[in-house]
Symmetry: C2
Subunit: 210 residues, 2 copies
DNA sequence: TCATTTTGTGAACACCGTTCACTTTGATGT
DNA sequence: ACATCAAAGTGAACGGTGTTCACAAAATGA
């Protein structure tokens, strides 16, 4: 039952975004009354939070898989950053909504703890790991503060994901077509981000054009 | 009258975000009936769009002021990127809402044209200008595709702004305090972004720590 | 079979954006 | 000063939302 509700919600959410997702809509979808849902979930927010958390679980999983591959560091790092954005954009509504929630002004200890083991933060932890590894192995500049650098990297990836989430065809929307596919643009962006960290980034190949 | 409505809306919007902004709330604020507002604005969306557009107008203005200063290119570029984020974060609700609107799937010519001279896109154009100038003056790598690079830069800035908008105390929230103030972190981020574009970025000073 | 607990419902509440027939207001023309 | 007419403003309603609560139905256990 709980599954059926979450499935229906997931379906509607993916198709029509958080705006199109209403308790009554879900109730229709599973042929129950709206009130029935409250026997299984305390509120709409709780239900939606579960969807978001599950979605970020899949992002986390995906990034983890990449990071665990036995490839040389530079390609692993690249794939990891690009992978975060790619996976995020498999469900743009989910990704945008996962951040569009309330401004976190609540700094109570329990909220902070709850946040600390959210999949969102775990995914960020993977990024931190990559940055740290890059610094320790000498690929990245040794004077970078790892934690802050990871946050900066995360912000850059987040920004691209949000751009795509809000402007369906982001890179082509504002000016003339760039000739880059979506994936190519993500690679391009990831390359620029990594280049900003590299100790000796002046390699001759143009970044990520393939 | 129109002014009074917009003022009240602006006030509520800034304080409580788009969620707390309702027609009835505005009506209360100005001691009119909800229906009265529809004599001056076609819909809530239209009203809110005006607020967003005005807000981005202020961002545009701010970035323009910086870009027009007669400072050496590197500091102008830095100030410009950091300025975008700073100005955006003067009204975090505005900034987040300006992008959180509907996913733009509508590619009709008139919508596209309307979008083309939105202040949002004009602000982006300023960034494009900076990037182009950097490439032409030899500060940035000559093989960068200007338009795509500008979009990547924009995405990175956008991401940081969104992070701050959603997590009030972003850089300190997830791990231990970084010791950087908000402004310092923004500078740090802007420096990394610029560094990713520089032709010979290996200067010895640590980026933006001040 | 009876009692109890779980599961589902219908109606309601308070809120939302929006519309529409209506009254009030104020200015204009004579 | 009076009539006229458009503009400004309103109250009530419609359909939508999340949520609650007293109640009915069904399943469970003895």
């Amino acid at each position: 039952m709980r599954e059926a509700i979450l499935d229906a919600a997931e379906r509607v959410f993916a198709d029509e975004g958080e705006a199109g997702l209403s308790i009554r809509r879900i109730a229709d979808e599973i042929d129950y009354s709206p009130a029935a849902i409250y026997k299984y979930f305390g509120s709409k927010d709780e239900l939606v939070d579960i969807l978001k958390e599950a979605f970020f679980g899949r992002i986390l999983q995906s990034v983890h898989n990449i990071v665990d591959k036995s490839e040389p560091f530079p390609v692993r790092a690249r794939h990891c950053l690009a992978g975060y954005v790619c996976k995020a954009l498999e469900k743009p509504h989910h990704y945008a909504a996962a951040f569009a929630g309330e401004s976190i002004t609540d700094r109570s200890p329990e909220k902070l703890a709850e946040m600390a083991d959210s999949n969102r933060v775990k995914a960020f932890a993977v990024l931190t790991g990559i940055v740290t590894e890059g610094i320790e192995t000498g690929h990245f500049r040794p004077d970078l503060p790892p934690s802050d650098t990871a946050k900066s990297v995360w912000a850059s990836l987040h920004g691209l994901a949000m751009m795509f989430a809000h402007f369906e065809a982001f890179p082509d929307l504002l000016t003339m077509p760039s000739g880059m596919s979506r994936d190519a643009f993500i690679d391009f962006h990831a390359d620029l981000v990594i280049r900003s960290l590299e100790r000796a980034p002046g390699r001759a190949d143009t970044p990520g054009r393939g």
